[in-house]
Symmetry: C2
Subunit: 122 residues, 2 copies
DNA sequence: TATTGTTATACTCTATAACTATA
DNA sequence: TATAGTTATAGAGTATAACAATA
């Protein structure tokens, strides 16, 4: 399932890590690089190249934070927002393909059962 | 869930890959290195170090195959069989912990729903 | 003194090409 | 000629230590 997910995004050139970063920025505009790293469990040293890649591809804008001149505030560019939109659309297609044999009720039931497992994943 | 699984096995020193290899050998005694690699999606060059590690730790015995002198026939040693047994016991504990809130009926239902997804993971 | 981003670095995992010995 | 195991190697992904600038 994860490899299908990766293939789904792979065609866009936006890998899973990059999509994760874009998503966090999308929901938290102006978030700092370190906060994104913490949110996703990425080591800060490894964030540098990832953010560089996103900036280099014109998907993310990086500005010195006004209130803390050590930090970079990250925002999506127009292209970045469009990339997130396309990735989400592809993910929806992927999910629909994966779940095509389940009724709406069965999908809800499956999610409820998985939630009750997740609560014990400690 | 996968990280919990890895932690469960991690304490034994038998990583997930190694457990996979031991399992295949356990069910197919005398199987060749290449067959195990194909079964698990491991590149044959990468199998070499893995099998070396298992042989070095006394878990696997490697003999030239009688009918094809190019191939190695792999078998579990007594220690290897014991390691598989302990790993399986730990996996059962892990699964019981993960599934502790589900009744037997709910577990069967969950597995049936997941099976119907797996059929579409193409 | 602590934190942000960074560099340098190392270790694991994985992937490919090319060799050898057998078939 | 094809296949089994091997070597060398390269590329991701991920981890830690140490530094400069700022808090």
């Amino acid at each position: 399932m994860r490899s299908d997910y990766a293939r789904t995004l792979g065609e866009t050139g936006v890998r899973q890590v990059l999509f994760g970063i874009l998503s966090v920025i999308s929901v938290n505009p102006g978030v700092s690089q370190g906060s994104v790293a913490r949110a996703l469990g990425i080591q800060r040293p490894n964030m540098v190249a990832l953010v560089n890649e996103l900036v280099g591809r014109g998907l993310v804008a990086r500005h010195v934070d006004a209130t803390d001149r050590r930090a970079f505030a990250l925002n999506l560019t127009e292209m970045g927002a469009a990339a997130v939109g396309e990735a989400l659309a592809r993910i929806r297609v992927h999910e629909e393909r994966i779940l095509r044999d389940l009724t709406a009720d069965e999908r809800r039931l499956l999610i409820r059962l998985l939630d009750r497992i997740g609560a014990n994943d400690d």
